[in-house]
């Protein structure tokens, strides 16, 4: 028996170490072990306290068990046995669990705290994110599949969903919240480190659930203000010859009936707003880069890249047309 046990145990340890190491992949862009915001840090500390506490408890109980059954197996006095059962079985867990409750309950407040003057409305679609920044005057700047936040300021996220339930989660920045059709849920983030993090839909929402991600870009407050100013502007179509032809392909193929490019004839609301799509970090809700070949790949193979998505694959377009479209869209910065 023992001969088989050892290697199994070693293998388990190696596997566990591997799991821990894997979390370091991608510099923790999508990891709870890389807390980069106040809320994620609270959750990280909470998990640490719980895990270490559970480990200590496990060692204590296991040690006691080994002590009374192996090291010192003798009959106990009635008083000691009653003390162990009442003290170890009732009083200790009640006090410990009570203490953990008192410690952890107030932690639930931070992620629900009110914003400090900045609110973002996020609506989950199948399978992408409609993102609207609310300006102080109440008007909204529409974007998609990317969340930009200022560092050091609490931003309120007002969450909603279209058709089915989704869940919003940026592990490096904070907790998770359900997104429910017809019902507003709320979460707030206080990012503490500038950087590009990754969010992911965390509630099964259909065929392409796993392909529903987004980039969360945390910026210095000045950079953020400048970015938001630019994002609020209408599109400035790129002027190169190829891009101009791309704009014609865009109009000819009817892209504007689903997508909006503010300042042009394209006013569709079904798909993501493309006014500044060239300035984004990713395409297809976090599944592709944002270079010209990615645009071509996405437009020509939408349905194989994202099964059951509403947008058809435009694989009938010639390579020239696709390249022109990519030049146009990539130029919408």
């Amino acid at each position: 028996m023992t001969r088989f046990k050892r290697p199994t145990r070693t293998r388990t340890l190696v596997a566990l170490a591997g799991v821990l190491l894997m979390s370091a992949c991608g510099e923790g862009r999508q990891s709870v072990l890389n807390p980069s915001g106040r809320d994620a840090l609270l959750l990280y500390d909470l998990a640490l306290v719980m895990f270490v506490g559970a480990l200590v408890l496990w060692l204590l109980v296991g040690g006691l068990f080994v002590y009374v059954t192996r090291i010192n197996p003798r009959e106990m006095s009635r008083g000691l046995a009653e003390g162990l059962i009442i003290g170890g079985g009732v009083l200790f867990p009640v006090v410990l669990l009570g203490g953990l409750l008192v410690y952890s309950l107030p932690l639930m407040q931070a992620p629900r705290e009110a914003d400090e003057g900045m609110r973002v409305h996020i609506t989950a679609e199948q399978w992408w994110w409609r993102v609207e920044y609310e300006l102080p005057d109440g008007s909204r700047v529409t974007s998609a599949n990317e969340l930009r936040l200022p560092v050091g300021r609490r931003t309120g996220l007002i969450l909603n969903a279209h058709r089915v339930i989704h869940a919003f989660w940026v592990p490096a920045l904070g907790g998770k919240a359900d997104m429910i059709p017809g019902r507003e849920t709320y979460l707030s983030f206080l990012p503490e480190e500038a950087g590009t993090y990754r969010g992911q839909c965390a509630e099964f929402c259909g065929a392409s659930h796993a392909l529903m991600a987004f980039e969360a870009v945390v910026m210095e407050p000045d950079d953020f203000a400048a970015w938001l100013d630019a994002e609020a502007q209408e599109a400035t179509p790129p002027q190169s010859e190829e891009a101009t032809r791309g704009a014609q392909v865009f109009a000819r193929e009817g892209c504007g009936s689903c997508h909006t490019v503010r300042g042009t004839q394209a006013l569709g609301k079904v798909g993501p707003d493309l006014t500044h799509v060239g300035g984004r970090v990713s395409l297809g809700a976090g599944i592709l880069g944002a270079e010209a070949p990615d645009f071509v790949n996405w437009i020509a193979h939408t349905e194989s890249l994202k099964p059951e998505v509403a947008m058809p694959s435009y694989d009938h377009l010639s390579p020239d047309d696709l390249a022109a479209l990519a030049a146009y869209l990539g130029g919408l910065e």
Partner: protein
């Protein structure tokens, strides 16, 4: 069986019937406290009402529930009568054992209910907002 014996049995069964009810009182108070706290919180938070009033109400309700459960527990503890005879098990089929066993069960249920009510009240004590 004589007339007197029958009367004695009838009297004892009647008292045990009450005691049988009594063991449910602890969990019953817990259930009522739980339902009332959650219902009041849901209603008042949904209507954007006064959180401080809600917390005060839950505080008073919790105090009343805990005192009632403690009293039930004390009664049950006396019925169990552990310290006098040091008898944990009460497993004989006699009237006395039945009586003490029900006290034992009621006492343990009162302990669980006391802990349950305290834990249910903690969020209202520690979180001062509906968010």
């Amino acid at each position: 069986m004589t007339k007197i014996n029958e009367n004695e049995d009838a009297h004892e069964f009647r008292s045990e019937a009450v005691s049988l009810w009594r063991i449910t009182f602890g969990p019953l108070i817990w259930a009522v406290h739980f339902a009332a706290s959650y219902a009041a919180t849901a209603l008042i938070c949904a209507k954007g009402g006064a959180v401080e009033g809600l917390r005060l109400g839950i505080g008073i309700g919790t105090g009343v529930a805990l005192v009632a459960i403690a009293w039930l527990g004390w009664q049950a503890w006396r019925q169990w009568d552990l310290l006098c005879d040091r008898d944990w098990e009460n497993d004989q089929g006699t009237g006395e054992d039945r009586h003490q066993f029900l006290g034992h069960a009621a006492f343990l249920l009162a302990v669980v209910s006391f802990i349950g009510v305290s834990y249910v009240a903690l969020p209202a004590l520690l979180i001062g907002t509906c968010r």
